[in-house]
Amino acid sequence: MRKLSIGLVFSLVAVMAFTFAAVDAGAADTVKLGFNIPLTGDNPDVGASSKNAAEMYLKKHPTVDVGGKSYALKFVFDDNEYKAESAVKVSTKLITEEGVLGIIGPQSSSQAVPAGEVANNYATPMISPWSTNPNTTLDRPYVFRGCFLDPFQGPVAADFATDELGAKKAAVLYDIAADYPKGLAEFFKEAFEGIHGPGSVVAFESFTTGDKDFSAQMTNIMMSGADVLFTPQYYSEVPLIVRAAKEMGWTKPILGSDSWGGGDLMGLCGDDCKGYYFSTHYAAAGAKGDTKAFIDEYTAAYGKTPDDVAALTWDSLGLMVQAIKDTGKLSGDIKADRTKVKDALASIKNYPGITGAMTFTADGDPKKCAVVVKINDEGKFEFFKSVCPK
């Protein structure tokens, strides 16, 4: 019996080894890219948008030409369940078992930061389309991103409040228990006080995740005499904050960040949110050129307007494929090829993405413009102004 089971284990191992060998052998004329995205868990919409954009890309560009040779593109979608530990596992699996040339994702910083560590350790190029936290790419030559960073978005909002809304005093309301709002609130405060002097952020009010009542904070904000309210919160909290503001008689502008664009903001907020602004990666309403073509194609295929996750995934994928082309020749040695792709990514100049032109800095972050959108009377996110890094 024991001998039998040992034999069974050996034959299983042999079969597995054979399968992997077969996979590697078959991989000669394909380029395999992995997707580390949340298909289940707390934020399945993000994973669905990523997958939709990727499948649309694959339909449009099934092959990639590298140095005169045509390779078939192959995508591996793996679910990180919107959890940091699963994202680490998925990246490890994609690199060591699937043998992918590069990874797209994870999308959110909470997964992209730990998964970036894995990609960098295994020397595999990774692009996170949506992660705005500086730590994702910091000191990781193999990790890139497709979007701008929070330290850039904060000043964008501060400049916009000053130039377009004529604000001299600002109020901030943010969740101190979540990394993204907290970081952005602080970047905004620094930038705004840099323009108007210390103390010009007259109310810097916080709450903790899960709070529903903001009436006390809004009362403080009302009494502070601020000209604008900046609240870098998620779509589930924005409706409650906007409601609390209106109930306290707040009639001045409210400004948000790219987190407003993710999820079903208008479904939850309705008329309350109309007329307010937020900074984001791209604006679907009023888009032109390639961006419009992408939006039309996506809408036709999936019956909904692509969100910024879909657009950024599209661009990140485009960047990765461009880098693979730029290598000039793939050797077939996956480790050497990964490093070549990384070098090619780092040297891309002015890649014409649908969310703007991109050039990577030494840290692997793109220099690109942010867009400020206004929520119009129809509840659409309408292009208002483009703000580029100075």
Binding site: S206, T208, A216, N220, P239, D264, G267
Partner: protein, 321 residues
């Protein structure tokens, strides 16, 4: 300015406290009858809000919205309240029948944790059936903001506070004037002997759960009108805080639960302006996120000096309704 500031916060606190008071009543009533806390009560509040969501969407589709409306919004609101309270009462009865009655003779600890388990079952079944994404509560009545000398009040806030107080008074009348109410009071006095003289224990227990759940449903709907984003876990921390109010009021005391509910809302809301005043006076930089830390430290202090709550009695089986 300062008077306005105080009045504005007072109005906010009244609305916030009404929810605590309505939910705390359910904890207190069940405790006075069965000597145990129904820890699923916070989740019954959540179920009530979702039932209210379903009922109001149904009513809106039946009677139209906007220009095509057949009935005015406030009629729909009253109908939503009544129908949802009725339906949620049945949820309460089922919870009692399934979770509590079989365990009535079981050790106290077993009966105490059933509530926790039922709570988890209610939350996860919500995710199972509705997918877990957040839902918007339909706004049955138009929100109007009144500016009364610099203090901002909405029609909804006034309505929420009045409806809550109305329900509390109705409950008080029911308990002190009707025969059923008398049976409940008798049961609260002694739940071992009173059934011996012919008061039906099971009926009274079910009725208590039904009334408590109906009040939680009312709280859920009013909550949905004030904070229109519903999520499956909305009842968890809220339920715990209302439980604090029930204890603070004195276990089993109806009046205590109401007053403590409003008091808790007042302490929570008033902590934020208090933090700001302290910051100004001593040029400190304390964030308003410390609200709960400070508010519940105050509650702890009150309990240290009044361990039986505001209206509780020491060492007595006699619990007042």
């Amino acid at each position: 300015m300062t008077v306005n500031f105080f009045l504005q916060n007072l109005i906010n606190a009244l609305q916030w406290g009404s929810f605590y008071a309505l939910i705390a009543l359910g904890y207190s009533m069940v405790y006075s009858i069965l000597m145990l806390f129904n820890f699923a009560h916070g989740d019954i509040f959540m179920v009530g809000a979702y039932i209210g969501l379903g009922v109001s969407i149904g009513l809106l589709s039946l009677f139209g919205t906007g220009a095509a409306a057949v009935l005015p919004g406030w009629v729909l609101l009253v109908m939503t309240l009544l129908i949802s309270m009725f339906l949620t009462a049945f949820v309460g009865i089922i919870v009692e029948r399934v979770g509590y009655r079989p365990l009535r003779e079981a050790p106290r600890a077993s009966a105490a944790i059933t509530g926790l388990m039922i709570g988890i079952i209610l939350e996860t079944s919500n995710i199972l059936f509705l997918g877990g994404s957040r839902l918007k509560f339909p706004q049955l009545i138009e929100s109007t903001t009144y500016n009364i000398g610099g203090v901002f009040v909405t029609n909804k806030k006034i309505m929420i506070v009045l409806v809550s107080i109305g329900l509390m008074l109705a409950l008080h009348q029911f308990i002190s004037r009707t025969r059923w109410g008398m049976a409940m009071r008798a049961m609260a006095y002694d739940y071992v002997v009173v059934p011996l003289v012919g008061v039906p224990m099971n009926t009274i227990a079910a009725m208590t759960f039904a009334i408590g759940s109906a009040l939680a449903a009312a709280a859920g709907i009013l909550f949905g009108l004030a904070y229109p984003v519903l999520d499956p876990y909305m009842g968890v921390s809220f339920g715990w805080k209302a439980f604090v109010a029930a204890i603070l009021g004195g276990r089993g005391s109806i009046m205590g639960a109401c007053i403590a509910g409003f008091m808790l809302g007042f302490i929570e809301i008033m902590t934020v302006p208090a933090i700001q005043i302290v910051n100004r006076l001593f040029s400190l930089n304390i964030g308003s996120n410390l609200r709960d830390l400070i508010a519940y430290s105050i509650v702890l202090l009150i309990l240290i000096f009044r361990p039986h709550g505001l209206f509780g009695q020491a060492y007595s089986a006699k619990l007042r309704l």
